[in-house]
């Protein structure tokens, strides 16, 4: 079976130092190189096991341990040990990481548990709008995003109608800085994550308007670096998590064409390395969670290729003046639009048909996730030698879903068996890559929030 064949890149790779004997001196090992070599060696040992075994055995080794994952996730939902006190201000995140993972696995949730989640999140909701990290905590944009995505993932009318959208809108406006960017909380830090979580929440709840969008694109533009990726704030280094947040924000506000998309694409394409997984930044180690952050960027880029093409032929992206004029056009466009139209960007984006094949090696990525990040007892981890956790479980599964569906020309269409590594039963639910919620759940919430 072709799909269970393993992927082994050639010896020439961007990551391994590949000392060249023709150079007059042997390259010497730095810390960066040494760490990199250690990881490459561990990964090579794991992939080595695939050689010389039958296709059937290989398929078994690449099997997604669904039952074990569900067990690990459900246990966490019901009880967490004392060491989780460090995540005491991230409990809506724990809900999202766990429940989104369960939804990706296609596992239903019983009504009682669903009610418990809703009840708990309502205790995290601030009376003036937004959700905090736990009951009684200050509302925070990141935990608001986690709470809203959790409720969308639950998907019932009760769950969706429990969100006070009027107050949430007011909270978002309070978090907006005069620069156009957003603050995480009252007097909190400003960065690209804050912009994404604010815009994503507003978009999915159908409350995105010009007031919220104003100048946020200018801020994101200032965060695109000379490497092509996007940094957390202006002047910082291109980074997978922020690149996802920045690009998704720009798409949601309909300004993606203002970014230098071809250099962004080039940077992110180079983040997949010899280990088959993604790294977060140039010359950093591979990490399972970037399967979603970088893999998600590539899934978004696949749908943006016509825009990249347009940029390439007009070749005017990099000029300051052209950006300025694009900006003016956009602003006036937006001012003339009703709020409903802006929120529909996420809907029309996912409806776009694509003729392009994926821009990364989707089988290689699945191989890294299933063989190097998957923990056989349940859950996923960053890389071999690390421990599993809910964050990596969520983003490894999200990345796995993205890579399984990347050959589909229409969102959510069932992929061919060759697109899925291991047994076809590994296939997860498809997601909406702009919000990272399961596609069906997105459609239910879109319908719900469009009529109310």
């Amino acid at each position: 079976m072709e799909s269970s064949a393993s992927f082994s890149p050639s010896s020439c790779s961007p990551r391994s130092p590949n000392p060249n004997p023709n150079l007059d001196q042997q390259p010497r090992l730095t810390i960066t190189l040494l760490e990199q070599l250690k990881v490459e060696q561990k990964v090579a040992e794991i992939y080595g096991l695939l050689n010389g075994v039958s296709a059937h055995a290989r398929s078994l080794m690449s099997e997604l341990r669904r039952d074990k994952h569900v067990e690990f996730l459900m246990r966490g939902l019901k009880q967490l040990g004392p060491s989780y006190h460090v995540l005491d201000a991230n409990r809506p995140w724990l809900c999202y990481w766990i429940l989104h993972s369960i939804a990706l696995l296609g596992e239903p949730l019983d009504t009682e548990l669903e009610n418990d989640v809703m009840d708990f999140l309502s205790r995290c909701e601030d009376e003036d709008g937004g959700y905090g990290g736990g009951p009684g905590q200050l509302p925070h944009l990141a935990t608001t995003y986690a709470a809203v995505n959790t409720l969308v993932t639950l998907g019932s009318e009760n769950a969706l109608s429990s969100i006070n959208r009027d107050n949430l809108y007011k909270f978002l406006l309070r978090m907006k800085d005069s620069s156009g960017a957003f603050r995480m909380h009252d007097a909190g830090e400003i960065d690209v994550r804050a912009c994404y979580t604010a815009i994503s929440v507003a978009s999915i709840l159908n409350i995105l308007d010009y007031e919220l969008v104003k100048d946020v694109g200018n801020y994101i533009l200032r965060c695109q670096t000379y490497e092509g990726g996007i940094a957390g704030e202006p002047g910082s280094e291109a980074h997978g998590g922020y690149t996802f947040c920045g690009l998704a924000t720009m798409i949601l506000i309909n300004e993606a064409d203002r970014l230098d998309l071809s250099s962004l694409l080039d940077w992110v394409a180079f983040r997949q390395g010899v280990e088959c997984g993604f790294q977060g930044r140039t010359n950093k180690l591979v990490d399972g969670c970037y399967s979603f952050w970088q893999g998600g960027v590539l899934a978004l880029m696949q749908k943006l290729l016509p825009v990249v093409d347009k940029q390439l032929t007009s070749s005017s992206v990099s000029g300051e003046s052209s950006l300025g004029s694009t900006c003016n056009i956009k602003s006036s466009d937006l001012a003339g639009q009703g709020s409903g139209k802006l929120s529909d960007v996420g809907f029309s984006f996912i409806k776009r048909h694509t003729e392009s094949v994926p821009l990364f090696h989707t089988i290689a990525l699945q191989q890294y996730i299933l063989l190097c990040s998957q923990v056989l007892e349940g859950g996923f981890k960053d890389k071999p030698g690390k421990n599993r956790d809910f964050y990596h479980s969520c983003y490894c599964l999200s990345g796995l879903s993205v890579s399984q569906y990347s050959w589909s020309k229409d969102a959510g269409a069932s992929p061919l068996p060759t697109a899925v590594l291991g047994p076809y039963s590994n296939l997860l639910e498809p997601i909406h890559p702009l919000y990272n919620v399961v596609l069906d759940k997105y459609h239910m919430s879109h319908e719900f929030f469009s009529r109310s």
């Binding site: 961007p14 150079l23 460090v86 830090e189 280094e237 140039t282 390439l312 032929t313």
Partner: protein, 347 residues
């Protein structure tokens, strides 16, 4: 319930006389909480007392002390930090002392968002006089972990908001020397190419483009170019200087195309390492920007093509894409896309 094992001499708040007037407020988790955490007794009690002073908005010195204990238990609680700032302002506390507190807690939690935000808040209030200390502090954190994202962001914010540019290029240089120091166990001599790491490129680019003391990117370009070429030749497998080189000409591709040294370095590398994807990729970009290849370059590329000779109307850029599809199988889809989307001006 277990109690903290490493902190046995801690006296619970309930037995401290100065807290006897406060009624602790338990967390309102509801009857059937999800993701419930089995808090240790000391954590739970500290947070119960924190909730009490927070709800009462008590901006007192005992409240300040309480936030210290709560932060030490969980530096990720942004509500505690936020309240601490309100108390610090109300009590008009000397922020130099606050900075000492942050110094030690940040060294133990260098990847925590809240701590760096709090540091920025303090430095902002202290103004330019804080620049040296902040730069010194980030240097210490970066000595542990040269890739710490927060530390770099903080450093760049300090430079832009408070100043301190004078020594920043020296610091770049020092990064290289530190790297040699780190590797002294292998008794190594200075190796520019490998020490030229991502951190170095990033800080250098930042300084070159933003320092008010330098003439900006254009003024520095020539010296930067030769520097970068040296780094590439020392280790062509290092992606950082290749990206830095392109960055030097961001938004100025005409200059990039007309700079002979750029195509020459690609050629030089390809003569030694036929399948260096960074060299091939840069050549491809040059051709897409309208670069006219020399006959020598064409010859080298044609020789790299392993399969049957090209049909004569094939563009050189297209040939490079085909080579990349083979030597860089991880990105074969990407190179195939590039091949089918070459700009019309590409040779």
């Amino acid at each position: 319930m277990s109690s903290s094992s490493d902190d046995d001499d801690r006296i619970p708040f309930s037995r401290r006389p100065e807290w006897s007037d406060v009624r602790p407020v338990p967390q309102d988790d509801g009857p059937h909480p999800v993701v419930p955490i089995a808090y240790r007794d000391d954590f739970r009690e500290t947070m119960d007392y924190f909730r009490a002073v927070y709800l009462a908005d008590e901006r007192s010195s005992r409240a300040l002390y309480l936030t210290t204990e709560a932060i030490e238990m969980n530096p990720g609680n942004y509500t505690v930090w936020h309240f601490r700032r309100l108390v610090l302002e109300a009590l008009n506390v000397d922020l130099h002392e606050e900075r000492d507190f942050i110094d030690q807690i940040a060294m133990r939690n260098p990847k925590n968002y809240q701590i760096w935000h709090h540091r920025r808040w303090i430095a902002e209030k202290l103004g330019p006089e804080a620049a040296d200390k902040e730069l010194e502090f980030t240097k210490r954190v970066l000595a542990y972990d040269a890739k710490n994202y927060h530390a770099w962001s903080h450093r760049q914010w300090v430079l832009q908001s408070l100043g301190g540019w004078e020594k920043e290029l020296d610091y770049c240089q020092k990064l290289l020397e530190d790297d040699i120091f780190n590797n002294s166990a292998w008794n190594q001599t200075f190796d520019f190419g490998l020490s030229y790491n991502q951190e170095y490129s990033k800080v250098r680019y930042f300084v070159i483009t933003r320092s008010p003391l330098l003439g900006g990117l254009q003024a520095m370009r020539d010296s930067e170019l030769s520097y970068t070429i040296e780094a590439i030749l020392a280790n062509p497998q290092n992606e950082s200087p290749w990206r830095y080189l392109q960055g030097l000409y961001k938004g100025d591709t005409d200059v990039l195309v007309s700079e002979n040294q750029v195509s020459e370095v690609c050629l030089k590398v390809l003569k030694i390492d036929h399948s260096c994807i960074f060299a091939l990729s840069l050549l491809l970009d040059l051709l897409c920007y309208g670069f006219q290849p020399s006959d020598e370059l064409k010859g080298v590329i044609e020789a790299l093509r392993k399969s049957e000779p090209a049909s004569s109307d094939d563009k050189l850029a297209s040939t490079i894409c085909s080579i990349l599809e083979i030597v860089d199988p991880m990105r074969s889809n990407y190179w195939a896309w590039r091949r089918s989307n070459l700009p019309s001006k590409a040779c």
